[in-house]
């Protein structure tokens, strides 16, 4: 259940949408999957998280969203310590994640999916601002009565993003939003991110493999490798650094060896 | 003291029987992901086929046991091939199908043989004595057969290609299929192996204990118990758990009486299932 305790930086009033991740680590038995990861996500920030496979990107989202608890470190939202808050508790506080695979209520219609998202998140019947424009942009407005699992893959993923949007998140964690989308569909992710920034203004964390997308959308990125932060900064700068390139090449070499 | 050790010997022989029984059950769960509600039914079937072979066909007991194993194995094979294969991806549907099979089997046995317990005795009588410790000879023989069989199954699972293929299928059916292992060929065989083991246990144990159509229910419950305790899918765990259950049953029936031992065991396993759903050694539990 949600525990509310004042943060260490009490006195400095934090915006309720500020996410502070402090030196979190995750160990499975003796295996350190994650170590000393810290960052801040302020409302309006768009932070990209990249790294070779197995670097811990999905683990990061799992830990921040509450599906996993870290073994070390703290996570605070708006000054409240949420390190031990359960998954649904965090969702209710506004930390919302999307899923890599399509995630909708499959046999239900688009309309019903959205209705449920509204009802489960804040109980009222009103969708947040910018909903209609988003629906139109994603071409979902005229497909309201279709079953969500009959939609084409790309639209299902978009619906998943819409559901996250509908909850009026304070922090939005996107887990590979472009995965499985064709190149020409990826622009929709751009639209989504811009829309969120304009209408909701919450902080966003985007885990992605599509480097072009990251470059386009994220003013700041964080490179993870083997559960540690390898580099942080603007993408153009970070992605040119030798240690980052080495990490990716190293991963490529490992794959090559196995073949 | 002697009685304590002798009770322990009974516990061990019970444990080995349960281990053999649970082996089939846990194999099916590990490889197919199926909870086989008909497991008790195959135990009873094995017992009755052996009984019928001895009493109606005049077959010698060892042959009767072989027939029981064949009958259980073949029935299991056909059932998996023609019915279970259709829904094997959906675990709850497979469970319901095995339930349906169990009901049909019980009725078949009941109708064919009647509800009364037939006279089915083990061909070897007498007691083996070592100093002040004793164990009925039948238990000793059955114990040996069980140990040999369990050893054979271990060898099969860990030292042969067939066993390796089955274990690969257990880990990930799709990946294994992509590597050329044919589930549609192997699953019926795996199921048949499991049901044959249940039939074998029945053919061996029912002449010692009791043979009756209604035995399938408690046998199933005990199998559930053992396999949950040991961890669904873990062969080593099931074996260990079988011994624990055998010992508890032996000691509690001698020293406590009634079904208090069973009750304590059930409650213990229930708590264990909740705290540690993977049992003592089982695979990670991942929801449905």
């Amino acid at each position: 259940m949600a525990t509310a305790s004042t943060s260490v930086t009490a006195g400095k009033a934090q915006h309720e949408g500020e996410l502070h991740v402090d030196a979190i680590g995750k160990q499975f038995g003796g295996l350190k999957v994650f170590d000393q990861v810290s960052f801040k996500l302020l409302p309006g920030d768009i932070l990209g998280v990249v790294g070779p496979n197995g670097a811990g990107k999905t683990t990061l989202i799992n830990i921040i969203s509450g599906l996993l608890f870290p073994t070390h470190g703290r996570i605070t939202l708006g000054g409240h310590d949420i390190t031990r808050t359960v998954f649904h508790g965090r969702s209710r506080m506004g930390v919302i994640r999307s899923f890599q695979q399509t995630s909708t209520f499959r046999p239900a219609t688009v309309r019903e999916n959205i209705a449920r998202a509204i009802r489960f998140s804040h109980g009222s019947e009103m969708p947040p601002r910018g909903m209609d424009a988003l629906m139109k942009r994603f071409e979902l407005s005229d497909r309201l009565d279709e079953q969500s699992d009959k939609l084409p893959y790309g639209l299902q993923k978009m619906l998943g993003l819409v559901l996250a949007y509908v909850t009026s998140p304070k922090v939005l964690l996107l887990d590979e939003p472009a995965a499985g989308l064709e190149i020409r569909e990826r622009g929709r992710v751009d639209d989504f991110v811009h829309h969120v920034r304009e209408e909701l203004g919450c902080g966003m964390l985007i885990v992605e493999h599509d480097m072009d997308l990251i470059r386009r959308l994220c003013p700041q990125i964080m490179v993870l490798d083997s559960g540690r932060i390898l580099a942080e900064g603007p993408p153009a700068d970070v992605l040119a650094r030798p240690e980052v390139i080495a990490a990716y090449m190293g991963a490529a070499e490992e794959v090559a060896e196995q073949c | 003291m002697e009685s304590f050790v002798s009770t322990g010997l009974i516990g061990v022989s019970l444990g080995v029987q349960y281990a053999l029984l649970a082996l089939g059950f846990t194999l099916i769960f590990g490889i197919l992901g199926v909870v086989n509600f008909s497991h008790g039914g195959f135990y009873v079937l094995g017992g009755y086929v052996a009984y019928a072979s001895v009493h109606y066909l005049g077959a010698p007991y060892p042959l009767a046991v072989v027939l029981a194993v064949l009958a259980s194995g073949i029935l299991g094979y056909l059932f998996e091939l023609f019915l279970l294969e259709r829904v094997v991806e959906d675990h709850l549907s497979t469970l319901m199908l095995t339930l349906g099979l169990f009901l049909v089997m019980s009725t078949g046995i009941l109708v064919t043989f009647g509800p009364e317990s037939p006279q089915f005795t083990f061909p070897v009588t007498g007691t083996w004595r070592y100093g002040n410790y004793y164990l009925p000879k039948e238990n000793l023989i059955v114990l040996s057969v069980c140990v040999v069989t369990i050893g054979a199954v271990y060898l099969l699972m860990y030292k042969t290609d067939f066993g390796r293929a089955l274990r690969a299928l257990a880990d990930d059916r799709r990946v294994a299929a992509a590597q050329g292992i044919r589930p549609r060929l192997l699953f019926p065989l795996a199921f048949a192996l499991a049901t044959a083991l249940a039939g074998l246990t029945g053919a061996l144990v029912t002449p010692i204990l009791c043979l009756a159509p209604h035995l399938a229910d408690p046998v199933l419950a005990t199998s559930f118990l053992i396999v949950i305790l040991g961890g669904l899918g873990s062969v080593g765990g099931a074996t260990l758990a079988a011994f624990i259950v055998g010992m508890v049953e032996a000691y509690s029936s001698v020293y406590l009486g009634g079904s208090k031992g069973a009750l304590a065991l059930f409650v213990f396993v229930l708590i264990m299932l909740v705290i540690r759903p993977s049992g003592l050694f089982g695979q990670e539990v991942h929801g449905a």
Binding site: H88, A115, A117, D145 | G33, L92
Partner: protein, 353 residues
Amino acid sequence: MTDRFRSFVRFCGAAELTSIGILVLAFGIPLLSSSPFLVSLVTQILIAIPAAFSVYVMLRMDLMTFAVPAFMAMGAYSAAIVGLRAGITDTIVLTALSFAVPALVALPLGALVLRLRGVYFVLVTFLLSQITQLLLFETPKLTGGSNGLAGMPATTLFGVALEDNRAVLFLAIALALLAAAITMVLTRYYRQHFAAIKENQILAESLGLVVWHYKMLGFAVAAGLAGIAGFSLVNMLLTAHPSSFSAMSSVDYIAYTIVGGAGSMFGPIVGSALLVTANNMFSNRGEYSPGFFGLLIIIVVLAMKDGIVGTAIKLAQRYRGRSRRIVLTPTQIPLQPAAAAEQTPVADQTVER
């Protein structure tokens, strides 16, 4: 007036109202026939119905429960113990008790057990039933042990003893109606929540649904429904005996629901009626009935996953040629006025998935 009526009907659901209607009509059976066989048969069906509803409620959360006999026993023995030991025979009190005791026990049990799903949940609930039956045998001071509790006093309503077969039938109808009403209110009011849990639990949680609350609620209500069935049973037999509550008997109630169709409240009623009648047909050859059940289960799982009611609805829809699928009643999204004009009116549903 008709608008409010229509929205009430839509809230309740056509299947639900049909179910309740049929149960109310059952009151007329003594007018049609005085055959004691028929009265007994219908009473048995009515005893099964709340138990089948218990399975149905759990299935709406994608949980297959084998614990119905355990909770039935709790309801049954509560009523029997209180009737025999404390002399309380008022129907309303006993009904409330037989619902409340299992429901309350279900709360701590649920806290332990509801984190499991799928086959693990099946095994745990099966063990629960096994344990309960063992407890009944092993606590003779409370439960009469293997003798059970015989000679229960007849239940009374406002002082009038309900003793003859007709009175027992009426009480069984009333209990089934109560169970139906409870099932209807629960499954309609929380339709979206249960459906979300069933279809994609983790998504529901990620959107903020406190899933375990609803699972606990469903589990407790299902336990209470089974308890009502237990009370109905001992009311007919005037005896509470452990043999009525074996773990394997859970299969019967599951069969009633899935053979009838787990997609709507009407399915358990159809399933109970059909299978209890079939069981009675085998009265001389009672040993055949489990085999028959087994065959039905196999057929339904392989060929008729939606059960009798669900399959019938699908066939009817295909015959009528409409392209309207069976879909959950959507909630209106108040879009902007321009968009609102484009919305199709919310379709009335006949049966829910």
